[in-house]
Symmetry: D2
Subunit: 249 residues, 4 copies
Amino acid sequence: METKNRLDEVAVEELATRFEGKGPEVVIQWALEHFHPRIVLASSLQAEDMVILDIAWRINPDVRVFTLDTGRLHEETYASMERVREKYGIAIESFFPSREAVEALEREKGFYSFRQSVEERKFCCGIRKVEPLARALKDRDAWITGLRREQAVTRTVLRKVEFDHSHGIIKVNPLADCSEGYVWDYIRTHGVPYNALHDLGYPSIGCAPCTRAIKQGEDVRAGRWWWENPESKECGLHVTPVETGQSTA
Amino acid sequence: METKNRLDEVAVEELATRFEGKGPEVVIQWALEHFHPRIVLASSLQAEDMVILDIAWRINPDVRVFTLDTGRLHEETYASMERVREKYGIAIESFFPSREAVEALEREKGFYSFRQSVEERKFCCGIRKVEPLARALKDRDAWITGLRREQAVTRTVLRKVEFDHSHGIIKVNPLADCSEGYVWDYIRTHGVPYNALHDLGYPSIGCAPCTRAIKQGEDVRAGRWWWENPESKECGLHVTPVETGQSTA
Amino acid sequence: METKNRLDEVAVEELATRFEGKGPEVVIQWALEHFHPRIVLASSLQAEDMVILDIAWRINPDVRVFTLDTGRLHEETYASMERVREKYGIAIESFFPSREAVEALEREKGFYSFRQSVEERKFCCGIRKVEPLARALKDRDAWITGLRREQAVTRTVLRKVEFDHSHGIIKVNPLADCSEGYVWDYIRTHGVPYNALHDLGYPSIGCAPCTRAIKQGEDVRAGRWWWENPESKECGLHVTPVETGQSTA
Amino acid sequence: METKNRLDEVAVEELATRFEGKGPEVVIQWALEHFHPRIVLASSLQAEDMVILDIAWRINPDVRVFTLDTGRLHEETYASMERVREKYGIAIESFFPSREAVEALEREKGFYSFRQSVEERKFCCGIRKVEPLARALKDRDAWITGLRREQAVTRTVLRKVEFDHSHGIIKVNPLADCSEGYVWDYIRTHGVPYNALHDLGYPSIGCAPCTRAIKQGEDVRAGRWWWENPESKECGLHVTPVETGQSTA
């Protein structure tokens, strides 16, 4: 039922308020009950993603999970995808960039154009992440992410339930108010597999040439696009309403 | 002129005989004079490829070079592509796999299906290498490779000029009778940039999960698809006439 | 009591026979009860070592663990040591090579002498592993290892309790008859942390330049000193009685 | 002649002034003529070190080179040492940390104590770098480094010839006023081998867990001990007179 799944702005705001202070299990349980199978869990195989995957799988082992295989990931990240397949029996739905777009990018600008400017970096993200994400969310009513407010200055006002204006669907952020400590406690307690890069000092997992080690406890996005200012550090997957200035009326 | 570039079987055999014992420069000079711009140099950024690129570039700086960006390469290999851009001013023509094919592969078989059997491995190579190669060679009359007879039991009868039945064009192998020593002497003498993986013990450069260190001087293909028998270790890029049993008549 | 801990040849043989077919927990329980605190667990942070550590720690959280920090380990291996400290509260006792010996080795033979011959490789192992091991076992009555018969052609006759003639103490191999499957089942079931290199295809963990990926299920020692014959692939830590020909009478 | 080699404070200041604006070759030529064989070149195998090594070796192939093998270096760094041996025939003199000190450090504080505070990091540097350096410089009259003023806020006042109060000998910095561009131009032009980590975005080479990628052109020390303030980022190898406040009178 399309109508069943559609939420208006008021309902979204009420839900966000209701879930504030509630644990991730409560939010995920609601989301899966309300939207499955028209809801999908986004995973870049980083710690937060593994936690929401583990919680969601315990609630519904048929939960759908997708990843963006950008073509420049660490081998450790693919290994984590394989761990998910083994432990949970989940075939992660992979979204790969357009052949034509990557070929044009690499032929014209070379293999490290993203180092030249924020614009070039966003152009690369656009091809490898933003366009595939749009396909991943097409015909869905909602998606679940592992975003946390603590992760970045661009994420401090994150709500647990939002209307994602970029994609026209609901976005659920069950870990919005969780700390890094919560994430790792969950992983240790439940024996959740996690990306080996974390143990090498990488808190945020992205493309190999665009991710580096940071200090534990520091703004985790310091390890991504480190040559840019914090304010510009989003790849376009998670656009805030303020940025877009769009209205849902 | 199409006619100018076409060689019949007899001419190919005569050329192969003529070039036996001749240095790579002679063969590359002839190939570029005869076929440019309808000839292209294949590069996986391994040592042999860097040597033929350096020789070809000294003869004609407009030489065309392509690579197969499989989506699972080592970061060191991309870094080598960037060195080529910097030193030679050559924009390597990248060929990337089909989005739909990679997505289908990964969703159905996971991210390490190539470890399961020779068939699965060749299926993956088909998507990430063989199909893109066919596009790279389309509308060309010839291609130049860095193949050497010493590299593998599947390559001992390699000719310096061959008719490539798989692609219907001429294939030129200027290093066919060169030793590994020749390759490294050339690199050291001419200050040619080379893939850093070589210094870490990788003699043959391929996809990251399918390449490993080997002993210097050992069959270099021992570092590729090490779980398979030597006889099956070709990815389909370099098919021998014997295997195909095809006739050009 | 020295006398309490000393076992004669007959007792060792009887114990080995008694423990054949018994699970690792039984063997480790006996070993700790009989020898603690004069027993020590050897760990190179590979999967087997993590299993015996987890079992031993559940029996006695004061179990002593040592490792050989050869100075050429993978960063992933150090990260695993840190996981042990975090999860089990165990400060791994590190044994480091002699400064003078490493300096003499590197100055005279360079930094890759081990690639030249079995003798040179064993000379390096002697400095970085064998001598530190002797110190680790000094004043102990027994040690516990993660050796398994399946791992190598040099290990097929391994007993669960042996007299270690090289070091003059008892050697306990609780996993001697365990399969690789047992090891990984234990790790998954108990949420035991493990070296991330395993997920990248490295089954046997050693020094970084001397370890490479192998096929899952293959002789795991194929990833160590791959330029040598299987028969010569021991670093001197685990010498068999046949080799030494020593008598304990 | 001891007396020949000794320089007083006035002579040092005059030399520093004389060499300001002079090329590295001039400075190195003077240093080798004046001090050899009681002068040694320090190399951590990073780009600057390769340049001074190449220049020095062209002047005197018997130039002495040492490195600090801290026991936590990248494999790429050892590979670079091997390239030096191959190309220049120079056996790099390795200095390794004290066995007892490393064992005590790791047993008491674990394997990542340097992440906890500046003091702990300096304690680790003390064991792995500062003490071995003192041995490397013992009985020498001078040392040559690849330091550049641009590299760090702690290095802006670097002189080309200094009295090194910490070690009581002369310190020669031939690249003090050279740009990063100069270094790479020299490397490309002369075909000098360089550490592969540079191509992966690491401008400054140190211990593996304490070095990360930075932006090209950024303060190169941003890749070292990134969890600390710029002002504290020296490992104790290069102490400025201001810091020590010592007088040589």
